[in-house]
């Protein structure tokens, strides 16, 4: 029997090519999109959930109310003694890990090969127990018990030493530390926070490199990531309520600070997607992106399934007779439903095959879109294939259920005589088409709004110049020591206009402290961003001075106690005439020598906040070089030659400030790309459906068209009459789409401190666009019908 069903499906597929093509391409795109998104969602969802202890691990984060940095006053870093103390004080704390990392450290192997790697240092056996590291060589209990020992991931061991046994070999860190390899662990999966760390060393080894060990490990230093593992069955709320006691007993008494702070336990399961704290070990995911992608998958799959439902029920009248015959011969309803559902499942399976090909073709673009490197082998892993099959079958089932219900309900006595159930179900069909277009139009409108906000961001005057500026990260102190020589050499080149060294760039100022001034009404204390720069900082970035002067080489004291403040800080301190005033910054006195014009130092999500700039060489991290726009490659070559002269051991890395600036909006760019691709696909699939429906209706109305023409209708009359009913649907869709898009986009824009107003023309444009696309689609069919010879179509029946 099943064989019989399949024969019919296959013959239908090959016989009705247009119908088949429209259905299968729509379903294939839908399944392809949904399955890629599934790949991504699975990756993000399972992030850091693969450890056996995941459920009982918590990260300690702290909140300093009001100390808002990058949009939040939560911080992922705590004090080094915290973890140990928690285990000591609270019996329900089973285990703790304190860790931190160095990024881009130069590693030498055999004094020959150079690598730049990230190094993790942590309380050693605890880390391995809590996160269940699998040791291939060495053992977790004592691998790092000696100082200057290190363990490598399987991948890094292979990278450094090839097939040789790495245990007992040494690696040289930052040119002067030699560490012995004592173990190799199985590389963590890509969706683990440890995936990037192929080199792990102990706290003791790290500490031995420090000059100010006491200070680093004190309660006053917040630079450590702390994890605790609670005993089974312990409610984290219970432990959390006791955390203020720790602050009171240890933090406040040790530091004498009265700063208000709160500790929270954040479940490991939430740290990746729901992270709200600054300073995480790794770049975090974003639940919003995950949800938006799921929504897009759902919308696209729905639109594609609606196509199938519409085209199938429209064509149902053609199959009515088959249903009648089958019923007469003895088929019952269940058998017919089975038949038509298996029909749609065959369609979805064929579509699935094409979808898999689409997945393979578009995986690289998708990787770029979501920022994860999935290899094509990921598409052939059982977990993916099972999910893929489930999506495919579900799509088949959902799109087939309604047509099957309609078809199996035909009464044989009626349909057998050729009394086709014409016109029925067309109301539902219209509703479905309106749904499709409403979703597409809303997406188009969202795309326009997002793109115009992005455009606004790119073109808004941020208050500093970012064109033709090349940025070199200074990497470490040895390079900073050579700074003056480098600057001199660079300034010699005719294409180089300005060179400046600074602790931050105007786009990433992320350090803040307290500024105090004694006023008439007592002391004013303002939380302010801070950075360090040199004499050329302001001219390089074209930041203007509204009062006073820039740092000057001719004033010897500038490098020690001069400070530039921005307008916001002057305002916050309540100063009308700030130049010449003395500020107290962390106990030291500074003279305000100039007021600089406010500039946006963060993304436009945030308002401009107070900032001051001081001079202090050891803190400098970036060299920014303003160049003339012509002959850039030669200029870069020159810069590279200078770099190699003074910092040969460090790789030459450079970037352009304007592209760094754009990366501030990476999340928004990603969001914009996702929505615009989705809206493109949505409208495309919806049009496939419209095309099919139009061609079918035109086919059915061939006779009516013939009669109309015989009675004197012109081609444009006929096209008008036929197209009108479709365009009406798109018009209704607009009415639903506009408020929906307006609602979502107003919400989205709330996240920006500086934003566009949503203007009415965006909706006119997107609605008009959808209408135009629909008109073109439908016209291709209606014009063909209107031009045909009426004699043929009248004789047709």
């Amino acid at each position: 029997m099943i064989k019989n069903y399949f024969k019919i499906v296959i013959r239908n597929i090959t016989r009705h090519k247009t119908f088949t093509f429209l259905n299968i391409s729509g379903l294939a795109i839908g399944i392809a999109v949904a399955s890629l998104i599934m790949l991504y969602v699975k990756f993000e969802w399972e992030y850091d959930k693969s450890y056996p202890n995941t459920d009982s691990i918590y990260r300690v984060i702290q909140r300093q109310p009001g100390n808002i940095f990058m949009g939040t006053d939560y911080f992922g870093v705590t004090q080094e003694p915290l973890g140990r103390t928690l285990q000591l004080e609270f019996p329900e704390v089973n285990n703790y890990v304190t860790m931190s990392s160095w990024k881009d450290v130069v590693i030498n192997i055999d004094r020959k090969k150079n690598y730049e790697e990230d190094i993790l240092y942590a309380t050693a056996p605890n880390l391995f127990n809590m996160f269940s590291f699998e040791f291939i060589q060495g053992n977790p209990e004592n691998a790092l018990s000696q100082q200057n020992t290190v363990i490598l991931s399987e991948n890094d061991a292979k990278k450094f030493f090839g097939n040789d046994n790495p245990v007992g070999k040494t690696i040289t860190v930052r040119e002067n530390e030699t560490w012995t390899v004592t173990g190799v662990f199985k590389s963590m999966p890509a969706n683990s926070q440890f995936a990037n760390y192929g080199i792990i060393t102990s706290f003791e080894t790290y500490a031995s490199t420090l000059n100010n060990r006491e200070q680093t490990f004190a309660w006053g230093n917040n630079s450590w990531c702390t994890y605790v593992q609670l005993k089974n069955g312990i409610n984290p709320e219970f432990t959390q309520t006791k955390l203020p006691y720790i602050i009171k007993k240890y933090v406040n008494s040790a530091t004498g600070s009265k700063k208000v702070r709160e500790y929270y336990l954040q479940s490991l399961k939430d740290t990746h997607l729901y992270n709200k704290a600054n300073f995480a070990l790794n770049e975090n995911g974003d639940i919003k992106i995950v949800l938006v992608l799921i929504a897009m998958a759902f919308i696209i799959i729905t639109i594609a399934s609606i196509n199938y439902m519409n085209l199938s029920t429209a064509r149902a009248s053609l199959r009515a007779r088959e249903v009648g015959v089958r019923k007469v011969i003895g088929a019952n309803k269940i058998q017919l439903i089975t038949q038509f559902v298996s029909d749609s499942i065959v369609y979805s399976i064929v579509a699935g095959i094409f979808a898999l090909i689409l997945d393979l073709l578009f995986l690289p673009s998708f990787n770029q879109l979501v920022g994860i490197k999935f290899s094509s082998t990921a598409l052939f892993q059982p977990s993916f294939l099972i999910g893929f099959l489930v999506i495919t079958l579900l799509v088949g089932l959902l799109s087939g259920a309604y047509p099957a219900f309609v078809l199996s309900n035909y009464q044989p006595a009626q349909v057998i005589k050729g009394d086709n159930a014409k016109g029925k179900h067309s109301a539902l069909r219209r509703i479905l088409v309106v749904t499709q277009f409403a979703a597409s139009i809303a997406l188009i409108a969202c795309t326009f709004i997002i793109l115009s906000q992005m455009n606004y961001i790119r073109n808004k005057d941020m208050g500093y110049n970012r064109e033709n500026i090349i940025v070199l990260p200074l990497k470490d102190a040895s390079v900073v020591k050579q700074l003056e020589l480098m600057k001199n050499d660079l300034n010699r080149h005719s294409s180089i206009v300005e060179v400046t060294a600074s602790s931050h760039l105007p786009i990433n100022i992320n350090s803040s402290t307290h500024v105090k001034i004694s006023g008439e009404t007592g002391e004013i204390d303002v939380q302010s961003y801070q950075m360090y720069g040199d004499y050329n900082f302001l001219p390089t970035f074209g930041i203007s001075i509204v009062d006073g002067r820039n740092f000057s080489k001719s004033v010897a004291t500038d490098s020690a106690n001069a400070v530039l403040i921005n307008q916001s800080l002057a305002r916050s301190l309540g100063l009308k005439d700030a130049v010449g005033k003395t500020l107290n910054i962390n106990g030291d006195k500074y003279n305000v020598i100039g007021i600089i014009k406010d500039f946006n130092m963060h993304s436009l999500h945030q308002k401009i906040l107070p900032l001051f700039i001081r001079m202090h060489e050891p803190w400098l991290q970036y060299l920014s070089i303003k160049t003339k726009s012509q002959d850039l490659p030669a200029t870069i070559d020159y810069i590279k030659s200078v770099w190699n002269r003074y910092a040969e051991q460090r790789a030459f890395d450079y970037s352009f400030l304007d592209s760094d600036f754009n990366s501030l909006y990476k999340r928004e760019e990603r969001f914009a790309e996702i929505v615009s691709y989705s809206s493109g696909l949505a409208i495309f699939i919806a049009c496939l459906g419209l095309l099919g429906l139009a061609s079918f209706i035109v086919e059915q109305k061939r006779k009516e068209i013939g009669i109309r023409k015989v009675l004197g209708a012109s081609v444009s009359d006929v096209v008008g009459t036929l197209s009108k009913q479709f365009l009406k649907l798109v018009f209704y869709a607009n009415i639903i789409a506009v408020p929906a898009a307006y609602y979502f986009m107003t919400n989205w824009l709330q996240d920006f401190a500086y934003r566009i107003n949503i203007s009415w023309w965006i909706f006119v444009l997107s609605g008009g666009m959808a209408l135009l696309i629909a008109l073109i689609t439908v016209s291709s069919q209606t014009i063909k019908a209107a031009l045909s010879n009426p004699v043929k179509s009248i004789r047709y029946e």
Partner: protein, 229 residues
């Protein structure tokens, strides 16, 4: 074989109520060949639909093989139908996507007959109907007469006790019509009961009895000496 008692069928639309069958009481015995005649709209097809259990009557009784079936639900009717009744229609009603062989095989599939048995049965009827050579063609590739022979083959492949033929010759020219009538007679001689609706008095006379319907009522029942051409 079957007996109706005051069968009534009323069609309702929003404004009109039409009585298609008005107290029809007939009895048809096993082995009979009954022709039903009457003008358009007299209720012939309605009667056939009810006799074939494609439709339920609005009132009255219908006994089929000793069972009162007028109140049966669709599933029960489908069960009796597929085991006992074969249909032949004016418009053939073959499934375009299936070959001749597959069309004829279809009733056996719904009866869950084993593959080897199916093959044997289908081949036998195709040979009887003399269309074995076209078994792999699709319906549109055949002439009207050939298509109707396929339809007859399909009707009798499951070896039904009753064949209902609704104007089987209506879409055929006279030579093809004759052919189909010969087939039906042949089946009847083999013991199958045949009920046939027709407009043609000539073809009506193939039956051993003619029932005339007018305005939903039985007007006459003529028994006649069956004669064979």
């Amino acid at each position: 074989m079957l007996r109706t008692n005051n069968l009534v069928k009323i069609y309702r639309t929003e404004e009109v109520e039409t009585t298609a069958l008005d107290n029809v009481s007939i009895e048809i015995n096993e082995g009979e060949f009954v022709s039903i005649m009457g003008p358009s709209g007299c209720g012939k097809s309605t009667l056939m639909n009810i006799l074939g259990m494609l439709d339920n009557p609005s009132g009255g009784e219908y006994h089929f093989l000793g069972k009162e079936v007028s109140k049966f639900n669709e599933r029960q009717r489908a069960q009796i139908r597929k085991e006992n009744i074969g249909f032949v229609f004016q418009s053939f009603n073959l499934i375009d996507e299936l070959t001749i062989y597959e069309n004829v095989e279809l009733p056996l599939l719904y009866l869950k007959v084993s593959p080897s048995e199916r093959k044997r049965k289908v081949q036998t009827v195709l040979e009887i109907m003399e269309i074995m050579h076209r078994r792999n063609h699709f319906p549109q590739q055949l002439s009207g007469g050939q298509q109707q022979r396929v339809a007859v083959a399909r009707a009798l492949v499951a070896n039904p006790k009753l064949i209902l033929a609704d104007e089987p010759t209506g879409n055929l020219d006279s030579s093809h019509g004759d052919e189909v009538m010969k087939m039906l007679t042949f089946l009847n001689e083999g013991g199958t009961t045949v009920i046939m609706v027709t407009h043609s008095p000539t073809y009506a006379e193939y039956g051993n009895r003619v029932i005339h319907l007018f305005d939903g009522k039985v007007v006459t029942e003529n028994f006649q000496e069956s004669f064979r051409v």
